[in-house]
Subunit: 419 residues, 3 copies
């Protein structure tokens, strides 16, 4: 009912000090949360899931983005479409479950019935003057990036999705998301603002002290460091890691696997970043012994030692593509202080659980890491609401991507306020 206090938000956005964490209201104020939902989540491409979430005709997935609920359905021709999950009659939510399978989409309230193209095909007792063609489901923009599904709630979505797709597509394509199945999904609610969840994802400065499992496959030198603080042995190791990275990139690219960094995190509306990085130990996967978790490789990949291809998008996702499985993360804000983090583990669709892969082994590293991150995010939320909190400095060596997230966010809010 109340207009957002635009002038105060505007002052906070303009007053942001580069290189420092955001002012407290960005993490705690319900009015800024509402502005985030309108300016960021209702106007950008939001990662929501993968094509294997709706593998068959009639399969439907629902996903809530802020107060919106989107229904993603595969129709009889195999096309995937997205609609608002709300009946055009009295506004009932059409489908409650996250996953289901239907012939038509039937509202339980008064049996209004829509087909999988969104057309209203049955609305009893509405009389002869009623025009069903004006009462079909409202559609939502949907794009599939090699099997990764993004929706945009705006009438005119950011056009640079195509630019991202063209550049990142060749990196992802060999892992063939469309030929996978979802082996496991976890939903956790982190007790912190969505931006704290994102910022936490955008640095590994905290990994050494908090992620004993994740740091088995990941090289510590990949997290960044201050050279002036290192002793000669450390520096030599870091140089050795950098040489390995360059050599690996060359080898992988020779195999037809694009690997070198692309970073458009704060230079595009649809900000993203990618790079394929070598792994420690046997170098095969994000597992506790760094060997593959699934015996069947993804797609046509034949060599297990492909490192880990990471793909980050603004505002709400990150993904790790290994040779044998994919781990993909979506962040859904719930309110100023709560965020849903949804993780899916994908394996070759022909892999058999218990034969080709063991669920516990597959999910072990990221289940532990997610729980640790959740505790860190809650610790931050608890701290930033303290009146004594003031924005602190980011490390120029280890928190560059956090800074890029903040810069992207502030830029997008500026654009929203200026329009």
């Amino acid at each position: 009912m109340l207009d957002a206090p635009v002038s105060q938000l505007s002052a906070l956005v303009r007053g942001r000090k580069p290189g420092y964490s955001l002012d407290a209201p960005f993490y705690t104020a319900p009015a800024i949360f509402d502005a985030d939902m309108e300016a960021i989540f209702a106007r950008h491409w939001i990662y929501v899931g993968v094509e294997p979430d709706v593998p068959e005709a009639g399969d439907v997935m629902t996903v809530d983005v802020g107060k919106a609920s989107v229904l993603i359905a595969r129709d009889d021709d195999g096309a995937i479409k997205a609609f608002h999950n709300v009946c055009r009659h009295r506004g009932a939510r059409l489908i409650d479950d996250e996953k289901t399978s239907v012939g038509n989409i039937v509202c339980r309230y008064h049996s209004w019935t829509y087909d999988l193209t969104g057309a209203l095909v049955h609305a009893p007792h509405m009389g002869s003057s009623f025009d069903a063609s004006c009462n079909g489901l409202k559609s939502v923009h949907l794009r599939s990036l090699e099997g990764l599904l993004f929706v945009c709630l705006a009438d005119e979505p950011p056009a640079d999705f195509d630019v991202m797709a063209a550049r990142i597509g060749p990196y992802i394509a060999p892992h063939k998301v469309r030929d996978t199945k979802i082996a496991y999904q976890s939903d956790i609610i982190e007790m912190g603002n969505w931006k704290l969840a994102m910022e936490n994802n955008r640095e590994c400065y905290h990994c050494d002290a908090n992620h004993p499992e994740l740091t088995v496959p990941l090289f510590a030198y990949g997290f960044g460091f201050a050279p002036e603080e290192m002793d000669p042995i450390d520096l030599e190791n870091a140089q050795r890691y950098e040489a390995l990275r360059q050599t690996s990139h060359s080898q992988w690219e020779a195999m037809g696997l694009p690997s070198r960094e692309i970073d458009e995190l704060d230079t595009m509306v649809t900000g993203f970043r990618t790079e394929r990085l070598p792994l420690d130990g046997d170098g095969e996967s994000h597992t506790m012994d760094t060997r593959v978790a699934c015996r069947l490789p993804l797609g046509a990949l034949t060599n297990a030692k492909l490192g880990g291809l990471s793909f980050w998008t603004q505002p709400n996702s990150w993904h790790h593509f290994l040779g044998d499985h994919i781990v993909t993360f979506a962040v859904f804000p719930l309110d100023a202080g709560r965020t849903l983090v949804r993780t899916k583990w994908l394996v070759n669709k022909d892999a058999v659980e218990g034969v080709d892969y063991d669920i516990e082994r597959l999910i072990e590293v990221w289940t532990a890491t997610n729980a640790q991150d959740s505790a860190l995010v809650a610790m931050c939320q608890s701290g930033v609401q303290n009146p004594a909190y003031e924005p602190g400095p980011y490390s120029p060596n280890t928190e560059m991507l956090v800074e890029k997230f903040c810069r992207w966010y502030i830029g997008r809010m500026t654009g929203f306020l200026d329009q």
Copy 2:
């Protein structure tokens, strides 16, 4: 503390599109909920219960209407009076329980004591300058309509209660509410706005798909239909139903039971509607076999086949009077998204449980129906908060009374805003 954003509410009220469901903020905005409590629930006659709720001198019932709490007590002369349930000393809530029996009303905090006429009869240590006569309980307007209790929190209640009472009294009187007892009460909290709970009650368009139990005694043709959608057999059945309705009205009125429709739902401040309708099957009651649930009839009724007399009031009640029992429903808004629905089943006060009636059988149809309605209301609340929701069209054949509820509500809000 904040003034309601009157101009925005006013724009929404004036902008309501007739024949369509209400704009989302009417169902979701806390500021409009507060306005509803002030404009509707604090200024109209609110149904709260029945005389048999306080059968004996000293019996007290408390009922919360919005943030108000009202204490309804039968005094030593048998008169029923209503007071605000708050001590005049430090503001403590006087009685917590929904039902109790007392000599005087004693505040547990400092023992201030009021008699059942509301007079302060004891206030220790207040000193000689204290005037007890200025510190009695504040009274609340109370009216009994043949045993149905209505309160009004306003200083000057709507005067047309008497008009409603004069017209509806003869319909209800033969069922003798005052000679009943409460066989069972259920309180359920529906996860939706109170207006969604009321709108759901004001149509049976949804009955066919959702209420397998209720549609045993109720005729489907009574719910309304679009003639142009019906085949010849359906139409002939509908005509047969209409003939039965007319015949039944004539027979019942000849027995001294007024039965024909009165509809003042959107034409009076104290809006109401009534009609006695034939029942399907054996036609006796709202039970799974359509036979009476209680062997003792109500009042002096001798014929069991009396159909069902329904009585609806704005803003918060509906009632079904059968030959053997009465089911009465009160709606109490809790917040923008939660509503208490209180149902009481009344039988002849001389009926003996287990002998004359079986509780499970008595409450079976409406317990199931309430649970189904609760799920529908929650489904609507979930949908209308979706930013993609927009008001949808009511069926001119099956949702006329929903439209009347909305028209009454918008009219009363307009009056409130114009004053």
Copy 3:
């Protein structure tokens, strides 16, 4: 985000009717709760605990005051210091537990490390341009009053703490708080505004009807009374009590124990009151048989019959010093309708549980009394939110200190609004 509706708060503050309870918004409005946190709890001396909460070097206690969290630590030199419990890097809460013991204070997020003087001694990867000396913990004003710890979140705390300390110090000193240990602590959340919790503490008008345990050691005549309501026998008993009080004061003061009333509850910014009062029965302690609960006396006290020294402070504490133990209470507002009441029972630090004292016996009276008070506060909160509530009159005989609390509060809010 929103400015407090200062003009409305100002009108309520100016409109307060002396001798009557406060207007409802003071107990229920979130905006006034926020103002209370800013005007009262962020600008006055708040009682938070006792020196024995952090007995050893490295011991740390955290206490939340509104949205602030304060970390109280004893350093290696035995000095107690207070800091804001928030990391200067990304704002993480540093210590979650209420009590812990540390070498340094290490943020779990990125290992920033502070010593017990608050200095930042380690911040990896921050680079050569980073100045650790600008990033130490922010300190909080802390004072110990003979072992009772008070903090003030303001930059410039009220100066009259010293006046209070000089006057009350000699009363408390003989009980030697620093030589005690915490035998038991209870935290209860009362479902009412913090001012209702305080007002409830500031009178014993309610004791007779609600506290059967507390009225064993306490004399009913000490609660105040209206002489005109008493019969001759009552009056004679009251006079006898008054004579005992005077005699006891003289005896105790001759023993070096200051005992006579000091009342500055509404005459100082740091308002307080004290008096040592005789106890009923054997007159030794707040126990069910009025005998000591701990065989070892406090400090150098030798006579058990020392009555009970009470010490009340604005805005959030009260304390009872007996010969054998101390009970100390702190009130921490959680939101407009919830308040944490923390009670600590202290005994001689050399006392052995099970030998010198029994926990159940020690805490029996105040555990029961706290539970009873909690129910009364909830009953009041439920009542004052009723739109029918209006401020009621305080008894001039039994609620003088409640009036002083309200007067102090209104005075402090006036000062805040006028600045």
